[in-house]
């Protein structure tokens, strides 16, 4: 297995991007990544596009973006793993390089959600479970799927709505420093508690927004990476797992004293095994993490699924502010999906963008000193979930080359 490094990263501004079409939005991230790596579009040997679509008109986004970004006639494809689409695209690109098939791959995560009205976006996301047995007759929504987990957690571990609010407060705090983020205002617990219910017990401020955005990464083989940059960020390991379409079939979530996502645990275990990391002491191995906080409850579950703490002790991490910068492990100090925004197919790539900037210690230039993690271990983690654990991808980035 050849080693693979990220040698260029780019990121659009996230938000309601009525000012651009999907290809123009893609270009913002691709242009920045090309400039970062000092490469041209013609240097790319393959383009992997993460895009979920449905809300946007272009049904061949990989083609439309290939053309606009100038990578033609190189090969391309679109990859989808619901909200983990960006990480799945990275996994594809990683293996295209690791295998020796090509040396330079452009990964683009892009989503233009605001080509449809908000209610249509909400309906489309709600349909992304098991359509026939969950949506057609029971009208599940995406917040509702996570609300089922929140209720389960409350019933088992005495979780309070105020605890969840703390997660939102943290992520808005960091988003306020991130110039690429959708939300720029800090909030307090009362902001969350006073917001209306979307799917009880989750309220508006427990939920990530609907977002347009793009993020791009350039992946290179070792020999090529060495020519491009002095600070390659290596992909150390990837873990991937799939959960049942039907939430009612999730054994661990429903049977045990447990409220996590089984697929996330499996993906983390895979990635840790590949990287030689002890699951039970995982937080100590990372300088910073981006976890999938599409809802506040999702971030809480991630702490436990990733082995940052024991089952039921995620609450403690929140209450003690251990996931702020300077704590046990800084989590989502770029604002997370919750406040940076969640353009479905771009989110995984956006996580990698933040982590690469953090590991290179360039994040301070982007967002200020307070949001730059201290880099001691040279390792960072991205935890990207599709649906409600329908997909789970865990990616470990490292300043140290994986294979000696």
């Amino acid at each position: 297995m050849r080693d693979v490094a990220i040698v260029g990263v780019g990121h659009s501004r996230f938000g309601n991007r009525y000012d651009v079409r999907i290809d123009e939005l893609a270009w913002e991230a691709v242009r920045e990544a090309l400039k970062d790596a000092e490469l041209s579009a013609k240097d790319m040997e393959f383009l992997v596009v993460g895009c979920t679509g449905g809300w946007s008109a272009e049904s061949l986004p990989a083609v439309i973006c290939s053309e606009y970004c100038g990578t033609l006639p190189k090969g391309s494809m679109r990859v989808e793993a619901a909200c983990a689409t960006g990480s799945a695209a990275v996994a594809v690109a990683y293996n295209l390089v690791a295998s020796g098939y090509v040396d330079l791959v452009l990964v683009l995560g892009v989503e233009k959600m605001y080509e449809s009205p908000g209610p249509v976006q909400i309906e489309l996301i709600g349909r992304a479970g098991n359509y026939f047995w969950e949506f057609e007759n029971f009208g599940m929504t995406f917040p509702a799927y996570y609300a089922l987990h929140a209720t389960g957690y409350m019933w088992k571990h005495g979780l309070k709505e105020e605890d969840l609010a703390q997660i939102a407060v943290k992520n808005h705090f960091y988003a306020s420093m991130n110039p690429k983020a959708q939300f720029k205002k800090k909030i307090v617990v009362d902001t969350v508690m006073g917001s209306r219910y979307i799917a009880w017990p989750l309220k508006l401020f427990d939920c990530c927004p609907l977002t347009d955005g793009s993020a791009a990464l350039i992946l290179a083989s070792e020999s090529v990476a060495r020519k491009i940059t002095d600070t390659p960020v290596w992909i150390s390991a990837i873990g991937a797992s799939t959960g049942t379409g039907n939430l009612s079939k999730r054994d661990m979530f429903l049977n045990l004293e447990y409220s996590g996502l089984e697929s996330a645990v499996e993906a983390a275990r895979q990635a840790y095994k590949r990287a030689g990391i002890d699951y039970n002491n995982a937080a100590k191995h990372f300088d910073v993490a981006c976890v999938h906080d599409c809802f506040t409850i999702a971030e809480l579950m991630a702490y436990e699924d990733l082995g940052f703490c024991k089952r039921g002790e995620g609450l403690k991490l929140i209450r003690e502010k251990q996931t702020y910068n300077g704590g046990l492990i800084p989590v989502n100090i770029d604002g997370g999906l919750k406040a940076k925004g969640h353009p479905i197919g771009a989110t995984g790539c956006s996580m990698m963008y933040s982590l690469v900037k953090q590991l290179r210690q360039e994040y301070r230039e982007l967002a200020g000193r307070e949001a730059q993690a201290t880099i001691r271990k040279g390792r960072a983690l991205a935890h990207n979930i599709g649906g409600t654990g329908h997909y789970a991808y865990v990616t470990i980035l490292s300043l140290e080359k994986p294979h000696k």
Binding site: T141, L148, L254
Partner: protein, 164 residues
């Protein structure tokens, strides 16, 4: 063609509107696409026949004993497709629930609804609406009964939980 697009064509010759919040120009497509899916149910037709008789069926693999709800006709465990159809007794225990207040557009005409997952006596779990007069009465592990009901205003048959 939406009224907004129509009005804009009349005024400016193009279905180009000003986005209300940002004042940015938006081109409104004139090509509205309607999607209404249909599903072949031949392999699980017993389930739907059951609904008409007030029964909710699960399946059990005759070869390897694997149980399935939603019911399915094929067993990936032993590669066989020899299923026994078993009606659920309806006795269950509530494992989790939520009340949906922001609804998909195709569910906007219903009152806010509660969705729960219950553990059934037969070993499978079921997701369905829970009918309860006061949500504050919902308790962890409360006993619920699964029955077939008519969903109004469409008046079609489906299944639902109610407190025992």
């Amino acid at each position: 063609m939406s009224d907004l697009a129509k009005k804009s064509i009349k005024e400016k010759g193009l279905p180009l509107i000003e986005e209300p919040k940002t004042k940015l120009p938006l081109y409104i497509s004139l090509r509205e696409l309607s999607l209404r899916y249909h599903f072949g149910t031949a392999k699980i037709q017993t389930f739907f026949e059951g609904l008409k008789e007030g029964k909710v069926y699960m399946t059990r693999c005759r070869k390897c004993d694997e149980k399935f709800f939603p019911p399915q006709a094929d067993c990936p465990k032993c590669l066989e497709s020899d299923m026994e159809w078993i009606p659920l007794s309806g006795e269950g225990e509530l494992l989790t629930c939520t009340m949906i207040t922001v609804k998909p557009s195709t569910f906007a005409h219903y009152d806010n609804y509660i969705v729960g997952i219950a553990q059934m006596k037969e070993g499978v779990r079921v997701l369905a609406w829970l009918q309860i007069d006061d949500p504050r009465k919902i308790k962890p592990k409360m006993k619920v009964r699964l029955t077939t009901v008519r969903r109004e205003p469409e008046h079609f048959i489906t299944y639902e939980f109610a407190p025992m």
